[in-house]
């Protein structure tokens, strides 16, 4: 049987339109062989989780440059649990302070990357996480 590709939802929550990071990462993940769905802009947490569940994704990647990370990530994690989808890996990229990253990881966000990160780091991390041994 052909191996199922890792399915990733790249999402832009909130009203912010800075989508360069989300699009570059989405394209890099697609080029790396993952199956990528990009939500487009202006998504509410409810919309993002509904799409994730409907599309049966393995990973949600949130791009946040609007300073709302301490509101959006906890809300997404909570909604995923409510939908019985707590197994979905939640990761994110954007402008985060080191302290916020520590707190978000303690809440259950699997990994976070700042604005200077390389896309290769993100690709490698996902490959390691879903490596079939």
């Amino acid at each position: 049987m052909a191996e199922r590709k890792v399915r990733i939802l790249v999402a832009k929550p909130g009203l912010d339109g800075h989508d360069r990071g989300a699009k570059v990462v989405a394209r890099a993940l697609r080029d790396a062989g993952f199956e990528v769905i990009y939500t487009g802009l202006h998504q509410t947490p409810d919309q993002i989780v509904a799409t994730a569940v409907q599309e049966d994704v393995d990973v949600i990647g949130l791009s946040i440059l609007s300073g709302t990370q301490m509101i959006v990530f906890p809300r997404i994690l909570e909604l995923l649990r409510q939908h019985g989808a707590g197994h979905i890996t939640v990761i994110g990229g954007g402008t985060f302070l080191p302290k916020e990253m520590r707190e978000l990881k303690a809440m259950g966000v699997a990994e976070l990357w700042g604005v200077d990160s390389s896309i290769q780091e993100i690709v490698d991390w996902i490959r390691r996480r879903f490596a079939t041994s």
Binding site: G14, L15, D16, G17, H18, D19, R20, A22, K23, V24, A26, R27, A28, Y38, G40, L41, H42, T44, S66, G67, T68, I71, V72, T95, L97, P98, K99, G114, V115, D116, S118, I119, Q120
Partner: protein, 561 residues
């Protein structure tokens, strides 16, 4: 311009130098890289000479400052008479909080104001809308009603200082509030100066703040331009912007070309109403980025001025020089700033600011060193402003006009940039014009492709970012500089203020005016006068936006990556 015999001698000399001197030297000591290129990927050769400017005609390519084709600058004296406006943008929390920052910046010697609005205001949601939750006052100031506008400019003399407002799909409402505020304070409208961004085309292509579909969105821009030209003779009703196109990942040429393409679309839109181009074109203004690659940027500014002058003269038949001269605001590149080693951003911003000034900008915002981490702190903004003051007062770069004019490299780069801008404009025309190209996602795809190519080059180490892919340091636990923090009470305070305004106003009158607004929207009449009446009656921004959603519908973005 050059004597053909002397040019020939230069060519021979160059060849001899390459064969005798250079090749042996390079064999002994190879250059650092095989090829050198600009940030946008244009190859830069080792040496430029007069031989690169073979057909160079001084009068045709450069002319004199304040004269066609304005390559050397839009005004005859440039900074010798009028230094660029030092215009640091500010906006966070409530209108009162931002008003305090304005007063601080004015006290530090800032010469113009610039307002950043929060996401809900930009997108047309009131602070009490569920979609606004968590975003009120976070990335800019929250403005729901005229009462907030009054707080925002409390104690600021609007007849004496120019104000720029970074706002787009809701720009016409903020302009209406500004006019209403001036009327209330009895400031004659011809005393108001400033700029409203109001550039919806680059929202669809790059910044992605939109509400209505393309055509009604353009009509709103058209109406505000016409209203402004008729009532506010010293106000710039649109600031046609390349900044966001570049920040979204475009090249320098794309930034200039797509911005000028938007300018063409606005001119066409207003001309359709029968207004003569020379009546409104002098009030069009522009906004570009000043990025990290020094000479590429200087050449871009010079080329953009030359192309716009030709467009206005030859394509639109403008007669007045003021219609042909491109004036622009400039901001250093936010995306060039790094979260690691944030003090490095001070040096980056200073070089970028110098490129803006050598490129002839009319006003400038220098970014705070902390902007890859948070909204800038007061200290970071002061240092950024001081960077401009040092540039003007200490370095001497503003003494002479267009001091890089005549540099072989800069003139060659200016010519190449101009040619490539024309190539894009011709492609866009072949697609049926700017709006047709926009509807085919042409700009969006070009920008996404360039952004990805840049990222790949950076990852391969072809593009160096100091502190990130070279000269890395172990990351400290904390950034090591003081950061601005969001006041957690903002959202609640703003909601309470909005509720109070709604309680105290005449709601029947608001409903009646909103109905009138819908009626006007269904015709082709100008939306501005009725909008001014709406805001005076304290209709909220969200109510006005929603009234027109009933008539215009919503834009849906095609997803391109």
């Amino acid at each position: 311009m050059f004597d053909p015999k002397k040019l020939e001698a230069i060519r021979r000399g160059l060849k001899a130098w390459e064969e005798k001197e250079l090749s042996a030297f390079v064999a002994r000591r190879p250059e650092r890289r095989r090829a050198f290129s600009t940030l946008s990927g244009r190859e830069i050769r080792r040496l430029y000479t007069a031989a690169d400017l073979e057909d160079f005609d001084y009068a045709e390519r450069l002319g004199y400052p304040g004269q066609y084709p304005f390559t050397r600058g839009p005004y005859p004296t440039m900074y010798r008479a009028q230094p660029w406006t030092m215009r640091q943008i500010a906006g966070f929390g409530t209108a009162r909080a931002t008003n305090e920052r304005f007063k601080f910046l004015i006290a530090q010697g800032q010469t113009g104001l610039s307002v950043d609005f929060d996401m809900p205001t930009l997108m047309g949601y009131d602070s009490d809308d569920p979609r606004a939750a968590g975003e009120v006052g976070r990335e800019g100031v929250a403005v729901d009603t005229l009462a907030d506008m009054e707080d925002l400019f409390d104690g600021v003399d609007l007849a004496a200082i120019s104000v720029s407002m970074t706002i787009n799909p809701t720009a016409w409402i903020l302009l209406a509030m500004y006019v209403a505020l001036a009327e209330k304070r009895r400031i004659p409208k011809d005393k108001l100066s400033g700029t409203i961004q109001n550039d919806i085309i680059k929202e669809f292509t790059a910044q992605k703040e939109w509400i209505y579909p393309v055509k009604p969105s353009l009509r709103i821009v058209r109406d505000s331009i016409i209203y402004s030209v008729q009532h506010l003779p010293h106000y710039n009703p649109v600031n046609i912007s390349g900044y966001h196109i570049r920040e979204a990942g475009s090249t320098a040429v794309q930034e200039a070309a797509f911005t000028l393409a938007a300018g063409i679309a606005y001119v066409e839109e207003v001309r359709k109403t029968g207004l003569e181009v020379d009546v409104f074109a002098p009030r069009l203004s522009f906004y570009f980025i000043s990025h990290s690659d020094f000479f590429e940027e200087v050449a871009k500014f010079r080329a953009a001025r030359r192309v716009w002058a030709k467009i206005m003269k030859e394509r639109f038949g403008a007669k007045k020089p003021e219609s042909m001269r491109l004036r622009f605001h400039c901001q250093t590149a936010g995306s060039s700033l790094t979260a690691v080693q944030p003090l490095n951003n001070v040096a980056r911003t200073a070089y970028q600011a110098m490129a803006a000034v050598l490129g002839g900008c009319q006003s400038l915002h220098t970014n705070g060193m902390d902007e890859a981490l948070a909204i800038p702190s007061e200290e970071a903004m002061k240092l950024a402003l001081r960077t401009q003051q040092i540039l003007l007062e200490e370095t001497g770069v503003a003494h002479s006009i267009d001091p890089l004019g005549g540099s072989y490299l800069v003139e060659a780069l200016t010519d190449h940039t101009e040619k490539e801008i024309w190539d894009y404009l011709e492609r866009i025309d072949r697609m049926g014009g700017t709006v047709a190209a926009l509807e085919r996602n042409f700009f969006q795809q070009e920008i996404a492709d360039a952004a990805y190519a840049y990222q790949v080059a950076k990852e391969r180490g072809e593009k160096i970012v100091v502190g990130v892919n070279q000269f890395r340091e172990p990351e400290p636990e904390e950034p090591g500089i003081p950061l601005h923090s969001v006041d957690p009470r903002t959202e609640q305070l703003q909601k309470e203020r909005l509720a109070r305004v709604k309680r105290e106003r005449d709601s029947a009158r608001v409903a009646k005016l909103l109905n009138e607004l819908r009626e006007v929207a269904r015709t082709d009449e100008n939306l501005m006068p009725v909008t001014v009446e709406c805001v005076k009656a304290h209709a909220t921004l969200g109510e006005i936006v929603n009234a027109l959603k009933d008539v215009f519908g919503l834009y849906r973005e095609p997803i391109v990556f």
